[in-house]
Symmetry: C2
Subunit: 595 residues, 2 copies
């Protein structure tokens, strides 16, 4: 059994639940069939198992190092693994054939990529950013920009970055100060960027930075931001490369995900003088002042990518804990008083099974949910305009949840994986402590938990007069109705979910009626967690319906984990909803001095 | 303001709430007064600030290293810091003067030591173990053993260890295999011990191991275990030292608390031949077969020590997060749409204040509770027999909570401290990620969370026909009654606590009525968490009553944090109690194959 992901589960999700074979009836995917999908997953599983997972510990132990000349040294083994990922064609798997891709369904690409993410979040980070950068260019760049910059990204020849944050502008992107000054057809950029993953390394031919900056004279705030392509290396007329004026100011040394180099970059400090003068040469993407909107194309993809990563780090932790619990003998059944009896594997202890079920219900639920979100992208691509629009709204609403719920609860799963291992789990000789450290990043980057909460309650829930929220409600109610028809235990669980759906609706009405945004959003994080739990409970109902006919241990496991989540986890949102309903002002009113 | 602990809070807890000045009216503490207590805390604060905290990062970064000759190298700076702690007399602070101590109240010693624990959990670990080993010897050893072994421990000349676990016997101590064979007045020990903190180093003159082993012919299980003193170095008749047959087999490399060397020790493998033959020379403590009972003297002390450590690691994390939140400008008030307005410190955002209040209510509540437990030891020492007995029962009941609640929830506080810092908190340039890693150990060692849960529900709650539980109920009800008399907001909060007290009582009755222990204890961890929250809510009522007259920001803070905990945290136990009340069997009945 793989300890990276469960192939049986991936197959169940893609083929039994999401029924992706059906996609082949769409013109867009008519060139594909079940065999292709399975082959792609096979390939990803093999790459993850044979190539990527073996370097994951190394990526943690031998962290990227900055050299005096401003270059970065990363262990050769990481580069070799990435080279094999590159050769597999995964970077471009979902792209049309004219861009060198297989034109795979988005959900298949994401399921395949989930294997790489589970095998090594740090190594997969380079690929994720590069794919997202390419997608942004394809969506918003000129044909020439696509050819020059996106195609080499899709081929994995160059890697991409997203340069948003600055020391004074983390969550508050409106405070970005990097300046762009027109210089012929191009611009020259000057400023400091912080937290840039993949900002410098020798893993790829060159690096294509996508940089948010403010054109001289642009208004303050987010409306003044434009987006630029800033290649690390500039091609001369004779085809040779010179360094652009982008220099490495330092590395951040992280608690986890150490293998993904994280950098401070200086643009235009004059270390390099392309064309004879200081200033990083950049090329405007699209229209002036639309930079943040374009960047959000990339950020939304990155957010779902982060959510999936969080889910699968939790997933691999769960599989490790399960293997340990099955093989580690310790103690005896509580009713067994014979000290001479052999010890039992710890999975025999109810508390351990409880920890395993918590993990299972979190990580399988989260991965299913993130693949569901990915499948919405395919629906958008294939549907008519009205359905595509509605599906797009639903996906917009779900994105902050897809990012945040796994980041919080699959991190909790990783903590439980350590707990199942006892002292062994706390040592670096085992793998689970690294998973825990790696996953701790996910509630922070690509918009913190608190930022996602404000996005959900402050924007998404109320957009288009609550149309997205109404769609979600209908989805959940529809699933619950189907579960009720199934009868038995499923019907009972569906009623629990239905009850909480009604409560969430009511709380949403109460909150949206509050005029003052500070008060409305004061406890937005609780709202995010509550809606997140409801969504995962809904997904579990879905999975249980899809498992109904299955009589084997696998489907029994789905039913058990679903029941566990809905009976034991979902009710935990009741006190959160109560706090929200009464519009608790304790934190809002706390004086700044009282801490 | 100190970022280690809040002196104002420690003074409030000791002098205003626990009213320790009153202890000077007891004969045992008649030699002490307010000035002495304050001077001891002063000393501890200075040591923590000037000596211990400065080496905490180093203790993490330069982990102990095993040399080919079986010795262990630890950075000199750690040894220097410990030497200064030794000279301060803190090792023996609570001991009677004839043992070289100051005969301080236990609670004062613990409050003083909390500063050292907060400044560096890893460094303080050596001291904690040494003090606990000395206390065990004082309680159960012969006068000669006390003189020979306890006194050098109290002087900090030798350090102590507790050698319980073995590779096959972690939580299941009945499976200990280490063998003891009589050899004249002494014994020879043979076996392998695992997870031994402080098992080898050159920080002290020698090391005194307290070792659980089974005398040849003893029965299986815990009844066959005896306890032995095994000095690392044996004194010859001529006063010179020879090595005992205790050798270092390896080090465990931990995720955190790296500065406390953690070892695998082989006893009697024949590397050293004391008196010409293999076998580690050991001296029996007390009676044969009573080893585990003696060890529990030490373990109970260690458990409260672990709980306090967890509380103060959370506490220092909170203070760091608070400082950061006050000084880091980012974003603007939600209703402020002017992008040219200056950014506000992030403490201005409600979500950040919520995270800070969560931390504050967890860490201040946990520290108060642990000091309360320490104050019970003083009450036991000073009270008449009947009251001492009752207080002892209450302390027995509270010990698993004192260990577990801070270990779980102050770890959560450390996670929130990272979250407040955003990306910076995830880097090793800041301190909070180390706190998080350090604190992750606490739910594991000295009895895991699950073991504590079984101890609470399986033993403590029902002992002496529920006498201890009845005492706790009376304490909580008494405090709630006093809070009701205070009226206003406090009375309302008291009613909430009272309501949950009644629910916990009812659930306890339901659970104790279940005959089958597997079923009764199936969800014991939920019970531990629920009772823990109730206890911390009770402590908050206490602190709020003690703050009632205070009109300044400090006392306002106590009221705010107490209200936050009781209104927003305490109700989270309702779903846990519901699961317990219905005796949920999902985990118990889950088949081993369904995972």
């Amino acid at each position: 059994m793989s300890l990276i992901l469960s192939r049986a589960d991936i197959d169940f999700l893609l083929f039994d639940w999401l029924d992706i074979d059906r996609l082949s009836s769409e013109p867009l995917y008519a060139h594909l069939d079940h065999g292709t999908y399975a082959a792609v997953i096979d390939l990803a599983e093999r790459l993850a198992t044979d190539v990527v997972a073996p370097v994951n510990k190394l990526a943690d132990q031998r962290e990227p190092e900055m050299m005096p000349d401003g270059s970065v040294v990363i262990p050769k083994e990481i580069g070799d693994a990435l080279e094999q990922v590159r050769r597999s064609g995964l970077f471009a798997a979902a792209q049309p054939s004219e861009l060198g891709g297989m034109q795979l369904p988005f959900v298949v690409e994401k399921a395949a990529f989930a294997w790489i993410q589970a095998a090594s979040p740090a190594v997969s980070g380079y690929v994720l950013l590069t794919m997202a950068a390419a997608n942004l260019l394809i969506e918003h760049g000129t044909p020439k920009q696509v050819e020059t910059y996106a195609v080499p990204l899709l081929a994995g020849e160059n890697f991409g970055t997203m340069c948003l944050s600055e020391p004074q502008a983390g969550s508050s992107l409106g405070d970005v100060r990097t300046k762009a000054i027109a210089d012929g057809d191009a611009y020259r950029l000057f400023g400091n960027k912080m937290w840039i993953s993949g900002g410098e390394h020798a893993l790829s031919g060159s690096i294509t930075h996508l940089v948010l900056a403010r054109i001289e004279g642009a208004p303050p705030g987010v409306k003044g931001l434009s987006l630029f392509i800033v290649p690390r290396d500039l091609e001369q007329d004779d085809g040779s490369l010179v360094r652009n004026d982008v220099s490495l100011a330092g590395l951040n040394h992280k608690m986890g995900q150490r293998g993904t180099v994280n950098t401070l970059l200086n643009f235009g400090e004059g270390r390099y003088l392309p064309g004879g003068s200081a200033g990083a040469v950049g090329y405007l993407i699209g229209a002036e002042g639309d930079g943040l909107r374009y960047m959000f194309t990339m950020m939304n993809e990155a957010r779902i990518g982060v959510g999936t990563s969080a889910a699968v780090i939790g997933y691999t932790g769960y599989l490790h804990a399960l293997e340990y619990a099955r093989s580690r003998p310790q103690g005896r059944a509580l009713r067994d008083r014979d000290p001479d009896a052999p010890q039992i594997p710890i999975i025999g202890h109810s508390d351990v099974r409880s920890m395993l079920l918590t993990q299972k219900s979190f990580v399988e639920g989260a991965l299913a949910f993130n693949l569901y979100c990915a499948s919405l992208v395919d629906r958008i691509r294939c549907a008519d305009k009205a359905e595509a629009r509605a599906t797009g709204l639903l996906l917009d609403l779900l994105t902050p949840i897809a990012k945040s719920w796994p980041s919080k609860f699959c991190l909790e799963a990783n903590s439980l994986a350590i707990q199942v291992h006892g002292g062994y789990g706390y040592t670096r000789d085992y793998d689970v402590e690294q998973f825990y450290r790696d996953n701790r990043l996910n509630p922070i980057h690509e918009g913190t938990h608190g930022i996602q909460a404000i996005d959900l309650l402050g924007r998404k829930v109320s957009m288009e007069n609550g149309a997205a929220f109404a769609l979600l409600r209908d989805q959940i109610a529809g699933t619950a109705a189907r579960a009720v028809i199934c009868g038995g235990a499923l019907a009972e669980l569906a009623q629990i979910v239905d009850g909480f759906l009604a409560e969430v609706e009511e709380v949403t009405r109460v909150l949206l009626a509050i005029g003052d945004s500070e008060e409305r959003l004061a406890n937005a994080s609780l709202y995010l967690d509550a809606v997140g739990h409801l969504v995962i409970a809904w997904i579990w109902l879905e999975l249980m319906i899809a498992s109904e006919a299955g009589a084997d241990a696998f489907h029994d496991g789905k039913r058990t984990a679903g029941r566990f989540f809905i009976r034991r986890e979902l009710p935990k949102i009741a006190p959160l909803l109560a706090t929200l309903r009464t519009v608790d002002r304790t934190a809002l009113d706390a004086s700044l001095e009282c801490f």
